[in-house]
Subunit: 122 residues, 2 copies
Amino acid sequence: MELVQTQVEALDLWRRVTVTTVRSDAPDLTARQLAVLMTVRLQPAPHTVRGLAAALNVGKPAITRALDTLTRLGFVQRRRDPKDGRNVFVERTDKGDAFLDQLGHTILTGDAPARPRLELAS
Amino acid sequence: MELVQTQVEALDLWRRVTVTTVRSDAPDLTARQLAVLMTVRLQPAPHTVRGLAAALNVGKPAITRALDTLTRLGFVQRRRDPKDGRNVFVERTDKGDAFLDQLGHTILTGDAPARPRLELAS
DNA sequence: GCTCTTTGTTTCGATCTCGAATCAATTGGC
DNA sequence: GCCAATTGATTCGAGATCGAAACAAAGAGC
């Protein structure tokens, strides 16, 4: 059960996932924002603004702005380094993890995200 | 040789490709722009503004703007329907195909795009 | 021929992002 | 203690994008 073998299959997988995210009501993240979010989730901690800027080859202000957006969405959180007050650690959140889990599910299965429409029902 | 099996592997594949595109000097396309470009490339022709808007579940002005950007980049081209002057067909270009081929290569291999830095050398 | 419908584009104000430069806060060297 | 270096945030003007509404052009129906 191979998910992708050829280049066309790889591109079509990317297309299906991209179209699904565009169609969904989930927030449309920039490539940079998504790269930050996934790096924080999948790469070993700790993550600093400087480190993320170096990893993504962009300026620090770009990281700060991406973190502003991701924090506003509740997908990551900032925490001051108690040892060195200049550093800011970027940490995962449950909401960010849920967003990425949904994306992973879409990549694997091609399904649109299960709609959390009834969250107020309980 | 399975490329992705688990959700974490799928997400990490997405992360590597996203980070590679962010780091590269290739134009950063919006998710919508990329969805339009891939749909034009991978789905059967013809493609109209209205059809793309329906497929991606966005308004027609959003498609027009995405086409403006993609046309400016030379990644797609517009052509009037000779049979019905109201329709605009969106067609592939060599440059758009090359961009997507590079993306497909990155997805399959994880490699950064081969730099076309020496194109003036010949 | 005239009107209604369809298709794609443009305008509008608001919001967001960008890179470069500047700023504020903290730490380290001496 | 004091000054330079480091880190992250902020400002600035320019440019891009957004959704909704208004618009222009072409075709369809009668």
